[in-house]
């Protein structure tokens, strides 16, 4: 074999273990559940192979699934919007700060390293019946009895925002940090107010970061089932909870496959649209 041919083969040898892993542990399993979603769950418990449309008919037409899917998308959308409203000024502050930017960013990223389940349950300490907030209100005499503030849609969104905000801040920061600040000065010198300069120059230039952060928040938020279990009430199930129920509790794997693929189709469409217009490079910048 010539030297060139060997040289050309080397990267593929280096790549093959990772590509094999992703192929065998992600892509083949995904294709497998497409097949599985057409199988049928029987009363005896064994799944019958074949081409049955029953699971898809149930997943696509049952109003119960549709309502929870819509509710999931609504919760993810609100979470994303709140993350953007909270995250943008914070990211702007870090990017334009005269102080130690790296330290400020690290501080806001620290919660990212703290366990998701710990951060989620930490709100019980704050909002629970015997939590900090009730304690303060009782002490101040504003209430006589503790109020149950937990286990509703608002606390689910609160938990999700707390979990996802660092993703948003990081992505916006990466975008803002790459903008030449002299552009704003130029706008100012041409007669724009600081606000006009921000709205017409900085904000548009930072939109790719906002979009990347938004995509991450939405997709991660819409795919969660732990937050509703910990911070939500009995009626706050999200779509991933249905998947968990079908697969783990009811052991109805064919239906669970169909439901998973529905979630993948909805969220995957968003990723594909994002990729089409903005590309993956921005997302990787924020993650890397």
């Amino acid at each position: 074999m010539s030297v060139e041919a060997r040289e050309a083969r080397q990267p593929w040898i280096l790549l093959s273990p990772a590509l094999t892993a992703v192929g065998l542990l992600l892509f083949v399993p995904l294709m497998f559940i497409v097949v599985y979603s057409f199988w049928l769950r029987t009363a005896t418990g064994a799944d019958v192979a074949g081409f049955h449309l029953d699971n898809w008919a149930e997943a696509l037409t049952d109003a119960f699934y549709r309502d929870i899917l819509l509710n999931t998308l609504k919760i993810a959308a609100i979470t994303t919007a709140v993350c953007a409203l909270m995250g943008y000024p914070a990211a702007y502050f870090i990017a334009r700060s005269q102080g130690n930017k790296a330290l400020l960013l690290l501080l806001l990223m620290l919660p990212f390293w703290i366990s998701y389940i710990i951060r989620t349950m930490s709100w019980i300490n704050i909002l629970g019946v015997s939590g900090a907030l009730n304690g303060m209100l009782l002490w101040a005499g504003l209430i006589q009895e503790p109020i149950q503030m937990l286990y509703n849609e608002v606390t689910v969104i609160l938990g999700l925002v707390h979990f996802l905000l660092p993703f948003m801040v990081l992505n916006i920061f990466v975008s803002l940090d790459g903008i030449d600040t002299t552009l704003e000065d130029a706008a100012n010198s041409l007669g724009a107010t600081r606000w006009q300069a921000f709205v017409q120059v900085t904000l548009p230039l930072s939109l790719p970061g906002l979009a990347a952060g938004g995509l991450l928040c939405f997709v991660l938020g819409a795919g969660t089932y732990i937050t509703p279990l910990v911070l939500g009430g009995p009626t706050d199930a999200m779509f991933a909870n249905l998947v968990f129920e079908a697969i783990i509790t009811q052991l109805n794997w064919p239906l669970g496959s169909a439901l998973s693929l529905m979630l993948l189709a909805v969220l995957g469409t968003l990723v594909v649209i994002y990729n089409r217009y903005l590309g993956m490079a921005q997302l990787m910048k924020g993650l890397g």
């Binding site: 590509l19 900090a132 707390h162 496959s257």
Partner: protein
Amino acid sequence: MNWGWQMIRGYAILVYLFMFLPVAVVVLLSFNASQFGSFPMTGLSLRWFVELAQNDAILRAFRTSVVLGLMTAAISTTLGVLASLALVRYRLPGANMISTLLIAPILVPEVVLAVALLLFLNFLGVNKSFALLLFGHVIFTLPFVILVVQARLVSIRRDVEEAAMSLGASPLQTFFQVTLPLMMPAVLAGALFAFTISFDDITGTLFWKPGGVETVPTQIFAMLRNSISPEINALGTVMIVMTVGLPLLGAAMARSLSRKSGA
């Protein structure tokens, strides 16, 4: 400093408080002497940490998490570093496509990944087991390792290796004596990242874990079913120290390593 900037600063401080207060309360309450995991605090005590150290279920979960995390980190980092080398060092046709394929596991919702892997491996005869957990954690952490390692490999210059080769080192010698030491910070960062993500994972883990086996997050989740106890807060504090302390330590180590190697 105009008032607009002051407002942004005030707002940012509120955002910081929002992120940190709940976590601070977890740490604070873990030192609470009271029976209940709640306010008012009746005094400072380490009793919940002592109870934690004597709780068999938690210790078992801890061991499972550490072993799983270490094995995940070892495998993910090996696969990730090799792939990153190929992506950074060679001009590959379709490199963008390959990158996207390799980070696909984080673009697919974790629940879907969990279901697909569980059903497929079960079909192949691999039941819910430690092996399934390990496969799951590897595939889920691999993209993060690749992103982190790739970002750091870019800064290693090739001419150092070319110099070693031109001075008579074999490709293998060059790799082990020049490239690998220069890569160490990237490798460590990738491994730490994989370990922390694996250690923290609950979404996939709940699908893959066999009955009776718990990792620390699933153990906390199971304990939350009853009520929030001071023990959970103490466990949370230990987790915070591990997942925040370790990466900070790792970052410090990586910095001193790269300073020594002059990169």
